[in-house]
Symmetry: C2
Subunit: 476 residues, 2 copies
C-alpha cells in the first residue's frame, strides 16, 4: 500500500483535481511505481479530511486517463509495468520524459535578423492598433469564424487595387490568394504545380546566385532546382530549362540587378513557347528610389506569371501577410491547397490591413519610409565610395540592401563578422552561389541611420585592413 504525501490547498478549491494532479506527478516521477496499490478511497478520504466522493472522483479521473487501473475486488493500482508505456518511463524523479537533454541541445535557436529586414523601430504601432480597434469594433461576429482560405474579400479587393496601382499588375480579387508571405506563396504554388506532373519531380529554373533560404523551401515542396546564371541584365534566359522559373525581376536577390527590357521579353517568350510558368518573387519592389518601380512581369502576362509579394518590407515580417496572384485555374487550386493545409490566414490582421490600405495609411507609411531609406542608401553608397574604392557596389536602384563585391583579399565570412560588430548587417554571397563568383556580401542599409554610415564603413575598413589574412583563412 502506498504511503502518499498529498498536499491540498483548500483555499483554491477543486480538491479532486488537486489530488489527481499530485497522484499523476507521483506516478510520472516514479515515486509511485507500476503496480503499486493505492489506499482505499475511504481511507485516503479520512487521511485528507475530505469526503470520499472527492477521492473517488480523483481516482476515476486517473483511471480514465490510463494512469491507474481499477478491478472489482482488487482495489485500485498504478497501471502495471507490463503495460508498455509505463516501462518506457525513465527511472528517477525526472518529471519530463522522452530523451530531452540531447534533443533540447539539438534545438537550433533562431535569429530573425536579415540584412534585408526593414527598420522596425518605424513600424506604425499606433496606426496599426487603431486599425485593429476599427476591426474589433466593426466586423460582424461571423467574420471571426472559419473564413475563406483564399482570404477575406475586403482585403483581396484592396490588394488587387493596390497591386494594379503600384505594381501595374493585372489582377482581380478572384485571382488573388492571401497567404502568410512570399515563402508560403511559393510553397503552395510549387506544391500545386508539382502535383500536376506525374512520374517525376517539377524542375524549377532558379537564378544563380539566389537566396540560400529558398533552396530548402523548393526541395520541401518536391521540386528540383536547375540553376541559371545571372549577369548584368539579370537571368540569362537562353540558359534556362525546366518546367517553370523562379525570378526576382524588380531587384534580383542578391545581386540587385533589374531584369532588362530585352530579357523581360525573352523570358515571356520562353514561358509562352514552352507553356511554362514564371514565379515572380516581388519581395522588395515597393522601394525603388530614383524613379517609379518597374511594373511587375505579371502585368505583362497574367496568364503565365504567378506574382508573390508581402508586407514584410513595407510594414513588418512578423505580420506574416502576403499575396499570390495567379492565373484563375491555378489560383483556385492554390486556394484549395491552402484550405487543406491550414484553412487560411488569421482574419483580424487581414481586416486591419484592408483598413490600412483603404484609408491610405499604407501608402503614407511607404512614402515616408521610401524617403528615409533613400537617405540611408545614399549615405551608405557615399561612404563605400569614399572609404572602399576597391569595392564594387551594385543593385542600388531599389530594395533595402546593396550588393558589395569586396576589395581584393577580403574574405566574405570575416567581412560579415566584422560588419556585425559595427552594427552593419551583412550576409555572405558564397553560400548563395551554385557556381563560383567574386567574393561579395549583401549589405543592408534599412537599419543604418545616415549619420552613422561613414563611421561604420571606416570602422569596417580598419578592421579588415588591420588583419593579415593567410591563404587558408581566406578560403575558410
Amino acid at each position: 500500500m502506498a504511503d502518499l504525501h498529498i498536499r491540498i490547498d483548500r483555499a483554491k478549491g477543486g480538491i479532486a483535481g488537486q489530488i489527481a494532479a499530485e497522484l499523476r506527478d507521483s506516478i510520472r516521477g516514479g515515486r509511485l511505481e507500476p503496480g503499486t496499490r493505492l489506499p482505499a478511497t475511504r481511507d485516503l478520504a479520512a487521511d485528507l479530511q475530505v469526503s470520499r466522493g472527492v477521492v473517488v472522483e480523483a481516482y476515476e479521473q486517473l483511471v480514465a486517463e490510463g494512469f491507474l487501473v481499477s478491478k472489482v475486488g482488487a482495489g485500485t493500482q498504478v497501471t502495471p509495468a507490463n503495460t508498455p508505456q509505463r516501462a518506457a518511463a525513465p527511472p528517477g524523479p525526472q518529471p519530463v520524459r522522452g530523451g530531452t537533454a540531447s534533443a533540447v541541445a539539438g534545438h537550433v535557436p533562431y535569429h530573425g535578423h536579415r540584412p534585408t529586414s526593414p527598420d522596425l523601430s518605424h513600424f506604425p504601432r499606433e496606426r496599426w492598433l487603431a486599425a485593429v480597434r476599427h476591426v474589433l469594433t466593426t466586423v460582424p461576429s461571423d467574420a471571426l469564424d472559419y473564413g475563406d482560405p483564399g482570404g477575406v474579400p475586403e482585403l483581396r479587393e484592396e490588394l488587387a487595387g493596390y497591386l494594379r496601382r503600384v505594381r501595374a499588375a493585372d489582377v482581380r480579387p478572384e485571382n488573388l490568394i492571401v497567404v502568410s508571405g512570399v515563402a508560403q506563396g511559393l510553397s503552395l504554388a510549387l506544391h500545386v504545380m508539382a502535383g500536376r506532373i506525374t512520374g517525376r519531380p517539377l524542375r524549377l529554373a532558379v537564378e544563380d546566385p539566389t537566396s540560400h533560404r529558398q533552396v530548402p523551401l523548393i526541395k520541401r515542396a518536391g521540386a528540383r532546382v536547375l540553376p541559371v546564371p545571372v549577369d548584368e541584365e539579370g537571368l540569362d534566359v537562353r540558359r534556362a530549362g525546366g518546367d517553370a522559373v523562379l525570378v526576382t525581376p524588380a531587384h534580383q536577390f542578391p545581386t540587385g540587378v533589374v531584369l532588362s527590357p530585352a530579357r523581360r521579353a525573352a523570358l515571356m517568350e520562353w514561358a509562352y513557347a514552352g507553356r511554362r510558368l514564371v514565379l515572380e518573387d516581388d519581395y522588395d519592389a515597393e522601394f525603388r528610389f530614383d524613379r517609379d518601380p518597374v511594373g511587375c512581369l505579371q502585368g505583362l502576362a497574367p496568364d503565365r506569371v504567378v506574382l508573390c509579394g508581402s508586407v514584410s518590407k513595407a510594414l513588418a515580417p512578423g505580420l506574416r501577410l502576403g499575396w499570390v496572384a495567379a492565373p484563375p485555374g491555378l489560383a483556385e487550386a492554390i486556394r484549395r491547397a491552402r484550405g487543406e493545409l491550414d484553412l487560411g490566414s488569421p482574419v483580424i490582421d487581414q481586416y486591419a490591413l484592408a483598413h490600412f490600405l483603404r484609408t491610405g495609411a499604407y501608402d503614407k507609411h511607404l512614402r515616408r519610409m521610401r524617403r528615409e531609406y533613400r537617405r540611408r542608401r545614399d549615405a551608405l553608397v557615399s561612404a563605400l565610395a569614399a572609404e572602399l574604392p576597391g569595392a564594387r557596389v551594385r543593385g542600388i536602384e531599389a530594395g533595402l540592401h546593396v550588393y558589395l563585391e569586396l576589395p581584393d583579399g577580403w574574405d566574405e565570412q570575416r567581412t560579415v563578422r566584422a560588419a556585425a560588430e559595427l552594427g552593419l548587417l551583412a550576409e555572405a554571397v558564397g553560400p548563395m552561389r551554385r557556381t563560383p563568383g567574386p567574393a561579395a556580401v549583401v549589405m543592408g542599409f534599412a537599419r543604418l541611420p545616415a549619420h552613422k554610415a561613414e563611421a561604420a564603413v571606416r570602422g569596417l575598413k580598419v578592421r579588415m585592413s588591420g588583419q593579415t589574412l593567410t591563404e587558408g583563412e581566406r578560403r575558410a
Copy 2:
C-alpha cells in the same frame, strides 16, 4: 501613328505615372494594337502641354516593363504581335485577361459556419484589443521581425503551462510548436512522418466515422487512410493497422464517444509495441461539462503521442492559433518544416495570446463559456428527449455538438436542410463514414440559446413528420 487620348489630372501629380498608366491600359485593352508606333516624345509632350522629360520617363517605364519597344532610328512602338505574350491577349476592350468567366464561375464560395463553431458573439473583443494594445506598447521592435518558426518563446511557455494544468499534458516549451490550428499541426506532422518513410506512402489509421474535412488534408500530406471502426468505447484498437493513428480521444468526432480507459491502455500498447505514433486531435476538450476533462493521451506517453489543439473553440477559429506538442526529435523536425513552409505564425497575436493566458483572461473566458454552453446543451438534450423520443442522443459529455441518431424514416440531408431553416446547425454523418451506419447528424448547440431550443426542435419535428418520404428520397 497612334491617336492617343490621354487624360491627365494635374492636381494629382505624378504626371509621368499617369501617362504610363493610360498607355498601359490602352495596350492591354487592345486600343493600342501590337506594332503601333507612338508619337515622338516631343510631339506628345506638346499635345499634353507637359515637359518632354515627363513623356520620356513614361515611355521608358513601359519599355522597362515590356509593353513598348524602342529602337534607335525607329522610334517607340507597342511590342509587336510576334512576341508571344501580346498574341495571347484576347481581342476587344476587356481589361483583364486570362480566361476569366468560366474560371470565376468555378471559384467555389466558402462558408465557414460549422455546427461545432463556438458562439462568436461572445468573443471577448475588448479584452483581446487590450491584449493587442499591451503587445504594441511593450514588445521591442525586434519582436516584429522574422521570428522563431516554432513560435514566440513567451507563448510556448504559457501554452506549456496551460496544457500541463488543464489537459494533464507532459510538455515543455521546447516540445511545443505554435501553429495556425489543428489542421496545420496535422499537415506538418504527417508531412514530416511521411518524409521518414521511403518507397511507400505513410499509412494512417483513422477513426470511422471521421470528419470528412480531414481526409483531403491527410491525402494532400501524402498519407493513405486506413479506416478503423468506432464503437461505444471509441476506436476499436484491435482492428487498427498502419504506421500511425489519428484519434479524437476526448470527444470522438462525430460520435462524441470518450475513449474508454481499457481502449486508452490498448492504444498505448499498440503504439509502443509497433513503435507507432499516435496523433491526438484535442479539438474541443476544453468543454467537458459534468466533470473535469479527461487528461490527454499525450500526458500518458509523451514519447509516442503528438498532441494537436487550438483556440478555435475557446476563442475563435479566425484567430488561427494552435499548437503541436511532439516528442523532441519530431518537434524539431516539425519546427524546421514550418520554417521552410511559411516561416511561422504572425507574432502580434502570439504575444496577445500569451498575455491572455498569463493574466487569466483565457481561463476566465473559458469558465464563463463552459457555464453558458452547459445550459445550452442541457436545453437541447431536454428538447430532443421530449420532442423526439425516437431519436438517440450521444456524445453529450463534452464539446459543442451532440451526435443524433435520427428517428426512423428521417433522411440526413433533409434533416440538415430543415434544421438550417430553423437556425439549427447540423451536418450529415453519412459523408463521414467509410462503412454504412444508422442515419445520424452532428448538431451544434453553441449558437442555440437555451430558451430557443424547444421551439427549434419542435419545429424540426413538424417539418420532418409533415413530409412523406419515398424510398428513393430516403437513400438520396
